[in-house]
């Protein structure tokens, strides 16, 4: 450490807009654990995996001895690996259905809980609870046993005289069961929606009702536009989240993506290639394609957002 001359911290004078370097040093030092972490845990492994994606790294041989194979892994992925395209299809299906439904559920419940009534805090807590349990393995295990052939869900259906199905072990239903689990965990976007709803000025509703607008028109013309930045935020976040779904698929299928690949999410396929087949070079290439794809999807979302996201002007206030 440089032996900085003692200085009175209380009377800090600085040239406006041009902080002195010496003053920044402690700041960076305080940041250093995080910077080190960023480098060691995120940046270096990422760059390494980019390198590995051009090799035949097989986990067991030291990566310094892995052979450079150029674009082979990428080429194989797009031209010679049906399981790659299959997992893309499964993942896109999952995200396209689960994400909008999850957001709809979150918004719906947020609207209900936005009213003032006795015990609303408890309800908010209860509805948020599933998200706290979130991606945990335990929830997925409970889910599997509930939706099994002889599980609670089928017993409940039987009470109403409906014959259930093997929800987790039939390829027709397994992915839907996973979607349901994802939708059920709508707590996080719901809380964000609630916060957004609180921001909508009450005067707008008052003015609208004076003008004779009903509940639906108020929702459509006040709530939705005012909430659109929050909807957009949730949409981006949940889309990324949806594409990354791994834990529940892993648990439900015992790590196989089965029955017959019906739950072979992209990340699960990547995992199997890397850690089960020991084809880590290929898995790294898959990870990079994934990163680029999610980046592109996010860009597209931002582009379309221009047309429907309404930001209240910054001067208004």
């Amino acid at each position: 450490m440089s032996p900085a001359p003692p200085r009175e911290p209380a009377v800090v004078r600085r040239a406006p807009g041009r902080p002195r370097r010496r003053e920044n040093l402690p700041g960076y030092l305080f940041l250093s654990p995080w910077l080190l972490g960023l480098a060691a845990i995120t940046a270096i492994p990422m760059l390494l995996s980019l390198y590995l994606s051009f090799t035949d790294y097989d986990v067991l041989t030291p990566f310094t001895e892995a052979n450079w194979v150029g674009w082979d892994n990428y080429q194989r992925m797009f031209t010679a690996d049906p399981s790659f395209w299959h997992s893309v299809r499964v993942t896109v299906t999952f995200a396209l259905i689960a994400v909008p439904l999850k957001l709809a559920a979150a918004l719906g419940v947020a609207l209900l809980l936005n009213r003032v009534f006795r015990g609303v805090g408890i309800f908010r807590g209860l509805f948020y609870l599933p998200s706290l349990l979130g991606g945990s393995v335990a929830v997925a295990i409970v889910w599997v046993s509930m939706f099994n052939r002889g599980g609670a869900v089928n017993s409940l259906l039987a009470v109403f005289g409906i014959e259930g199905a093997p929800w987790v072990s039939d390829p027709k239903y397994a992915l839907q069961t996973l979607m349901l689990l994802a939708i059920w965990q709508f707590g996080a976007p719901m809380v964000i929606f609630l916060a957004g709803l609180k921001q909508v000025p009450v005067e707008l509703y008052e003015a609208a009702s004076v003008d004779g607008a009903g509940k639906w028109r108020q929702f459509k013309h006040i709530t939705l536009p005012m909430l659109s930045p929050v909807i957009f935020f949730n949409l981006v976040l949940e889309t990324i989240h949806g594409f990354q779904g791994f834990t529940s698929a892993f648990v439900l299928s015992n790590g196989t993506g089965g029955p017959v690949d019906s739950t072979l999410m992209y990340t699960l396929n990547l995992y199997i290639n890397g850690f089960v087949q020991l084809d880590m070079g290929y898995a790294s290439a898959m990870a990079w394609v994934f990163l680029v794809a999610i980046g592109l999807i996010t860009v597209v979302l931002f582009r379309t957002g221009r047309f429907w996201v309404h930001y209240s002007d910054s001067e208004g206030g």
């Binding site: 450490m1 986990v59 089965g258």
Partner: protein, 429 residues
Amino acid sequence: MTGHISRRKLLAAAVAVPVLMGTAAACGDDEGGDDGNVELSVFWWGAEARAALTEKALALYTSKHPTVTFKKTWQANQGYFDKLATLTAGGNPPDLFQIDDNYIAEYASRNVTLDLTPYKDDGRLDVSKFPESLWKYGEVDGKLAGLAFGENTQGLVFNKSLLDKFQLPAPTTGMTWEQHIAWAVTVSKTAKVPGTMDPSGSYQAFWVWLRQQGKDLYNGKELGFTAQDVTAWFELWKGARDKGATPPADVIHEGNVTDISKQLVVTGKAATSWVWANQMPELKKNTKDELGVVAFPGDPSAQWARASMYFSVFRGSKHKDTAVDVANFLANDPEAGKILGTDRGLPSNLDVRKVVADSVTDPAMKQSIAVEAELVPKFGPAPAVPLPGHSKVKTELVKAAEEAQYGRQTPAQAAEAYVTAAKSAIGQG
């Protein structure tokens, strides 16, 4: 003022702590060698029963060699090899670890495992009491990559209590496949429990059946079967499903993916399961019903004495000699043998096997020993050790079989897809 000082102190501490911790960790690594004490890391998969037995056997070793202690790690089969691979990638695999046919060729061909041949040659690793075919199972490309730890064979396990209750006959060794299926149909009708798990996705059943057709799973570096063979195999079981001999597809799927403790014969969802004979005690522990075990259908000479698993030593281990000595002790010491019983298969050392057979009290272990003793004279020659890619050949078979079971593909389509996938798994052009 004080705030100023404490802030600097804090900074210093923030820098110092990780440095100090790093030093401490570095010291910890070297400690072992200096005073002659060795801590050997041992890693295996299995359930609690195996853990208890193994820990007891290792404790026995420590009592004889007080300078050697063990860092024991064990876990369920699922995820075991992921973890082993990760440890290896980190340059820190266990000194001594359990491995099986799925991965031994992969690890050996990448030089992770120590070649045990010199130890075998100078007697530090004694395989003189092993059946020759058994220890040779651990050879990959001329190197002894693992010490065969236990011998077993395919076993068809049936629920004896259930059959007795409905006065149904038990299956017998030597039944044909058609007879087995016909028997299963009767069981389904009478006992209202599906007679047999559908083993079309079970590679050990498929393998035995192939050998009975004069084929094999592998032939040199290639597949030993064609799409026609797979089609015939899938057709056989499609017929069985259509006749009601098996549970529905989703229950078969459960049987395919769950571990040994939830096999259908244990959960009561089928009257028979297709397993390895040494797994009897683990099955028995999970059910109140009495279980029996016979050979797979067809000519039993298609079955063979297989190394159920191996112990391998990490090539880069600092304590290679000790690790080999421990493996040698576990395999050849009669006392250790008595502790371990038949949990990993029949003991490889024939003398130990006899001691165990005479002293064993666990009825399920007794049964494993009895059925293998009955089958040993009927065994045919063992096939070669599976090729690298074997684990994928297995999982692809499950996938193809399930495509046919769910009726999403015809047996011929599923067979065609399977052969393509299996060829690519073993790198056959």
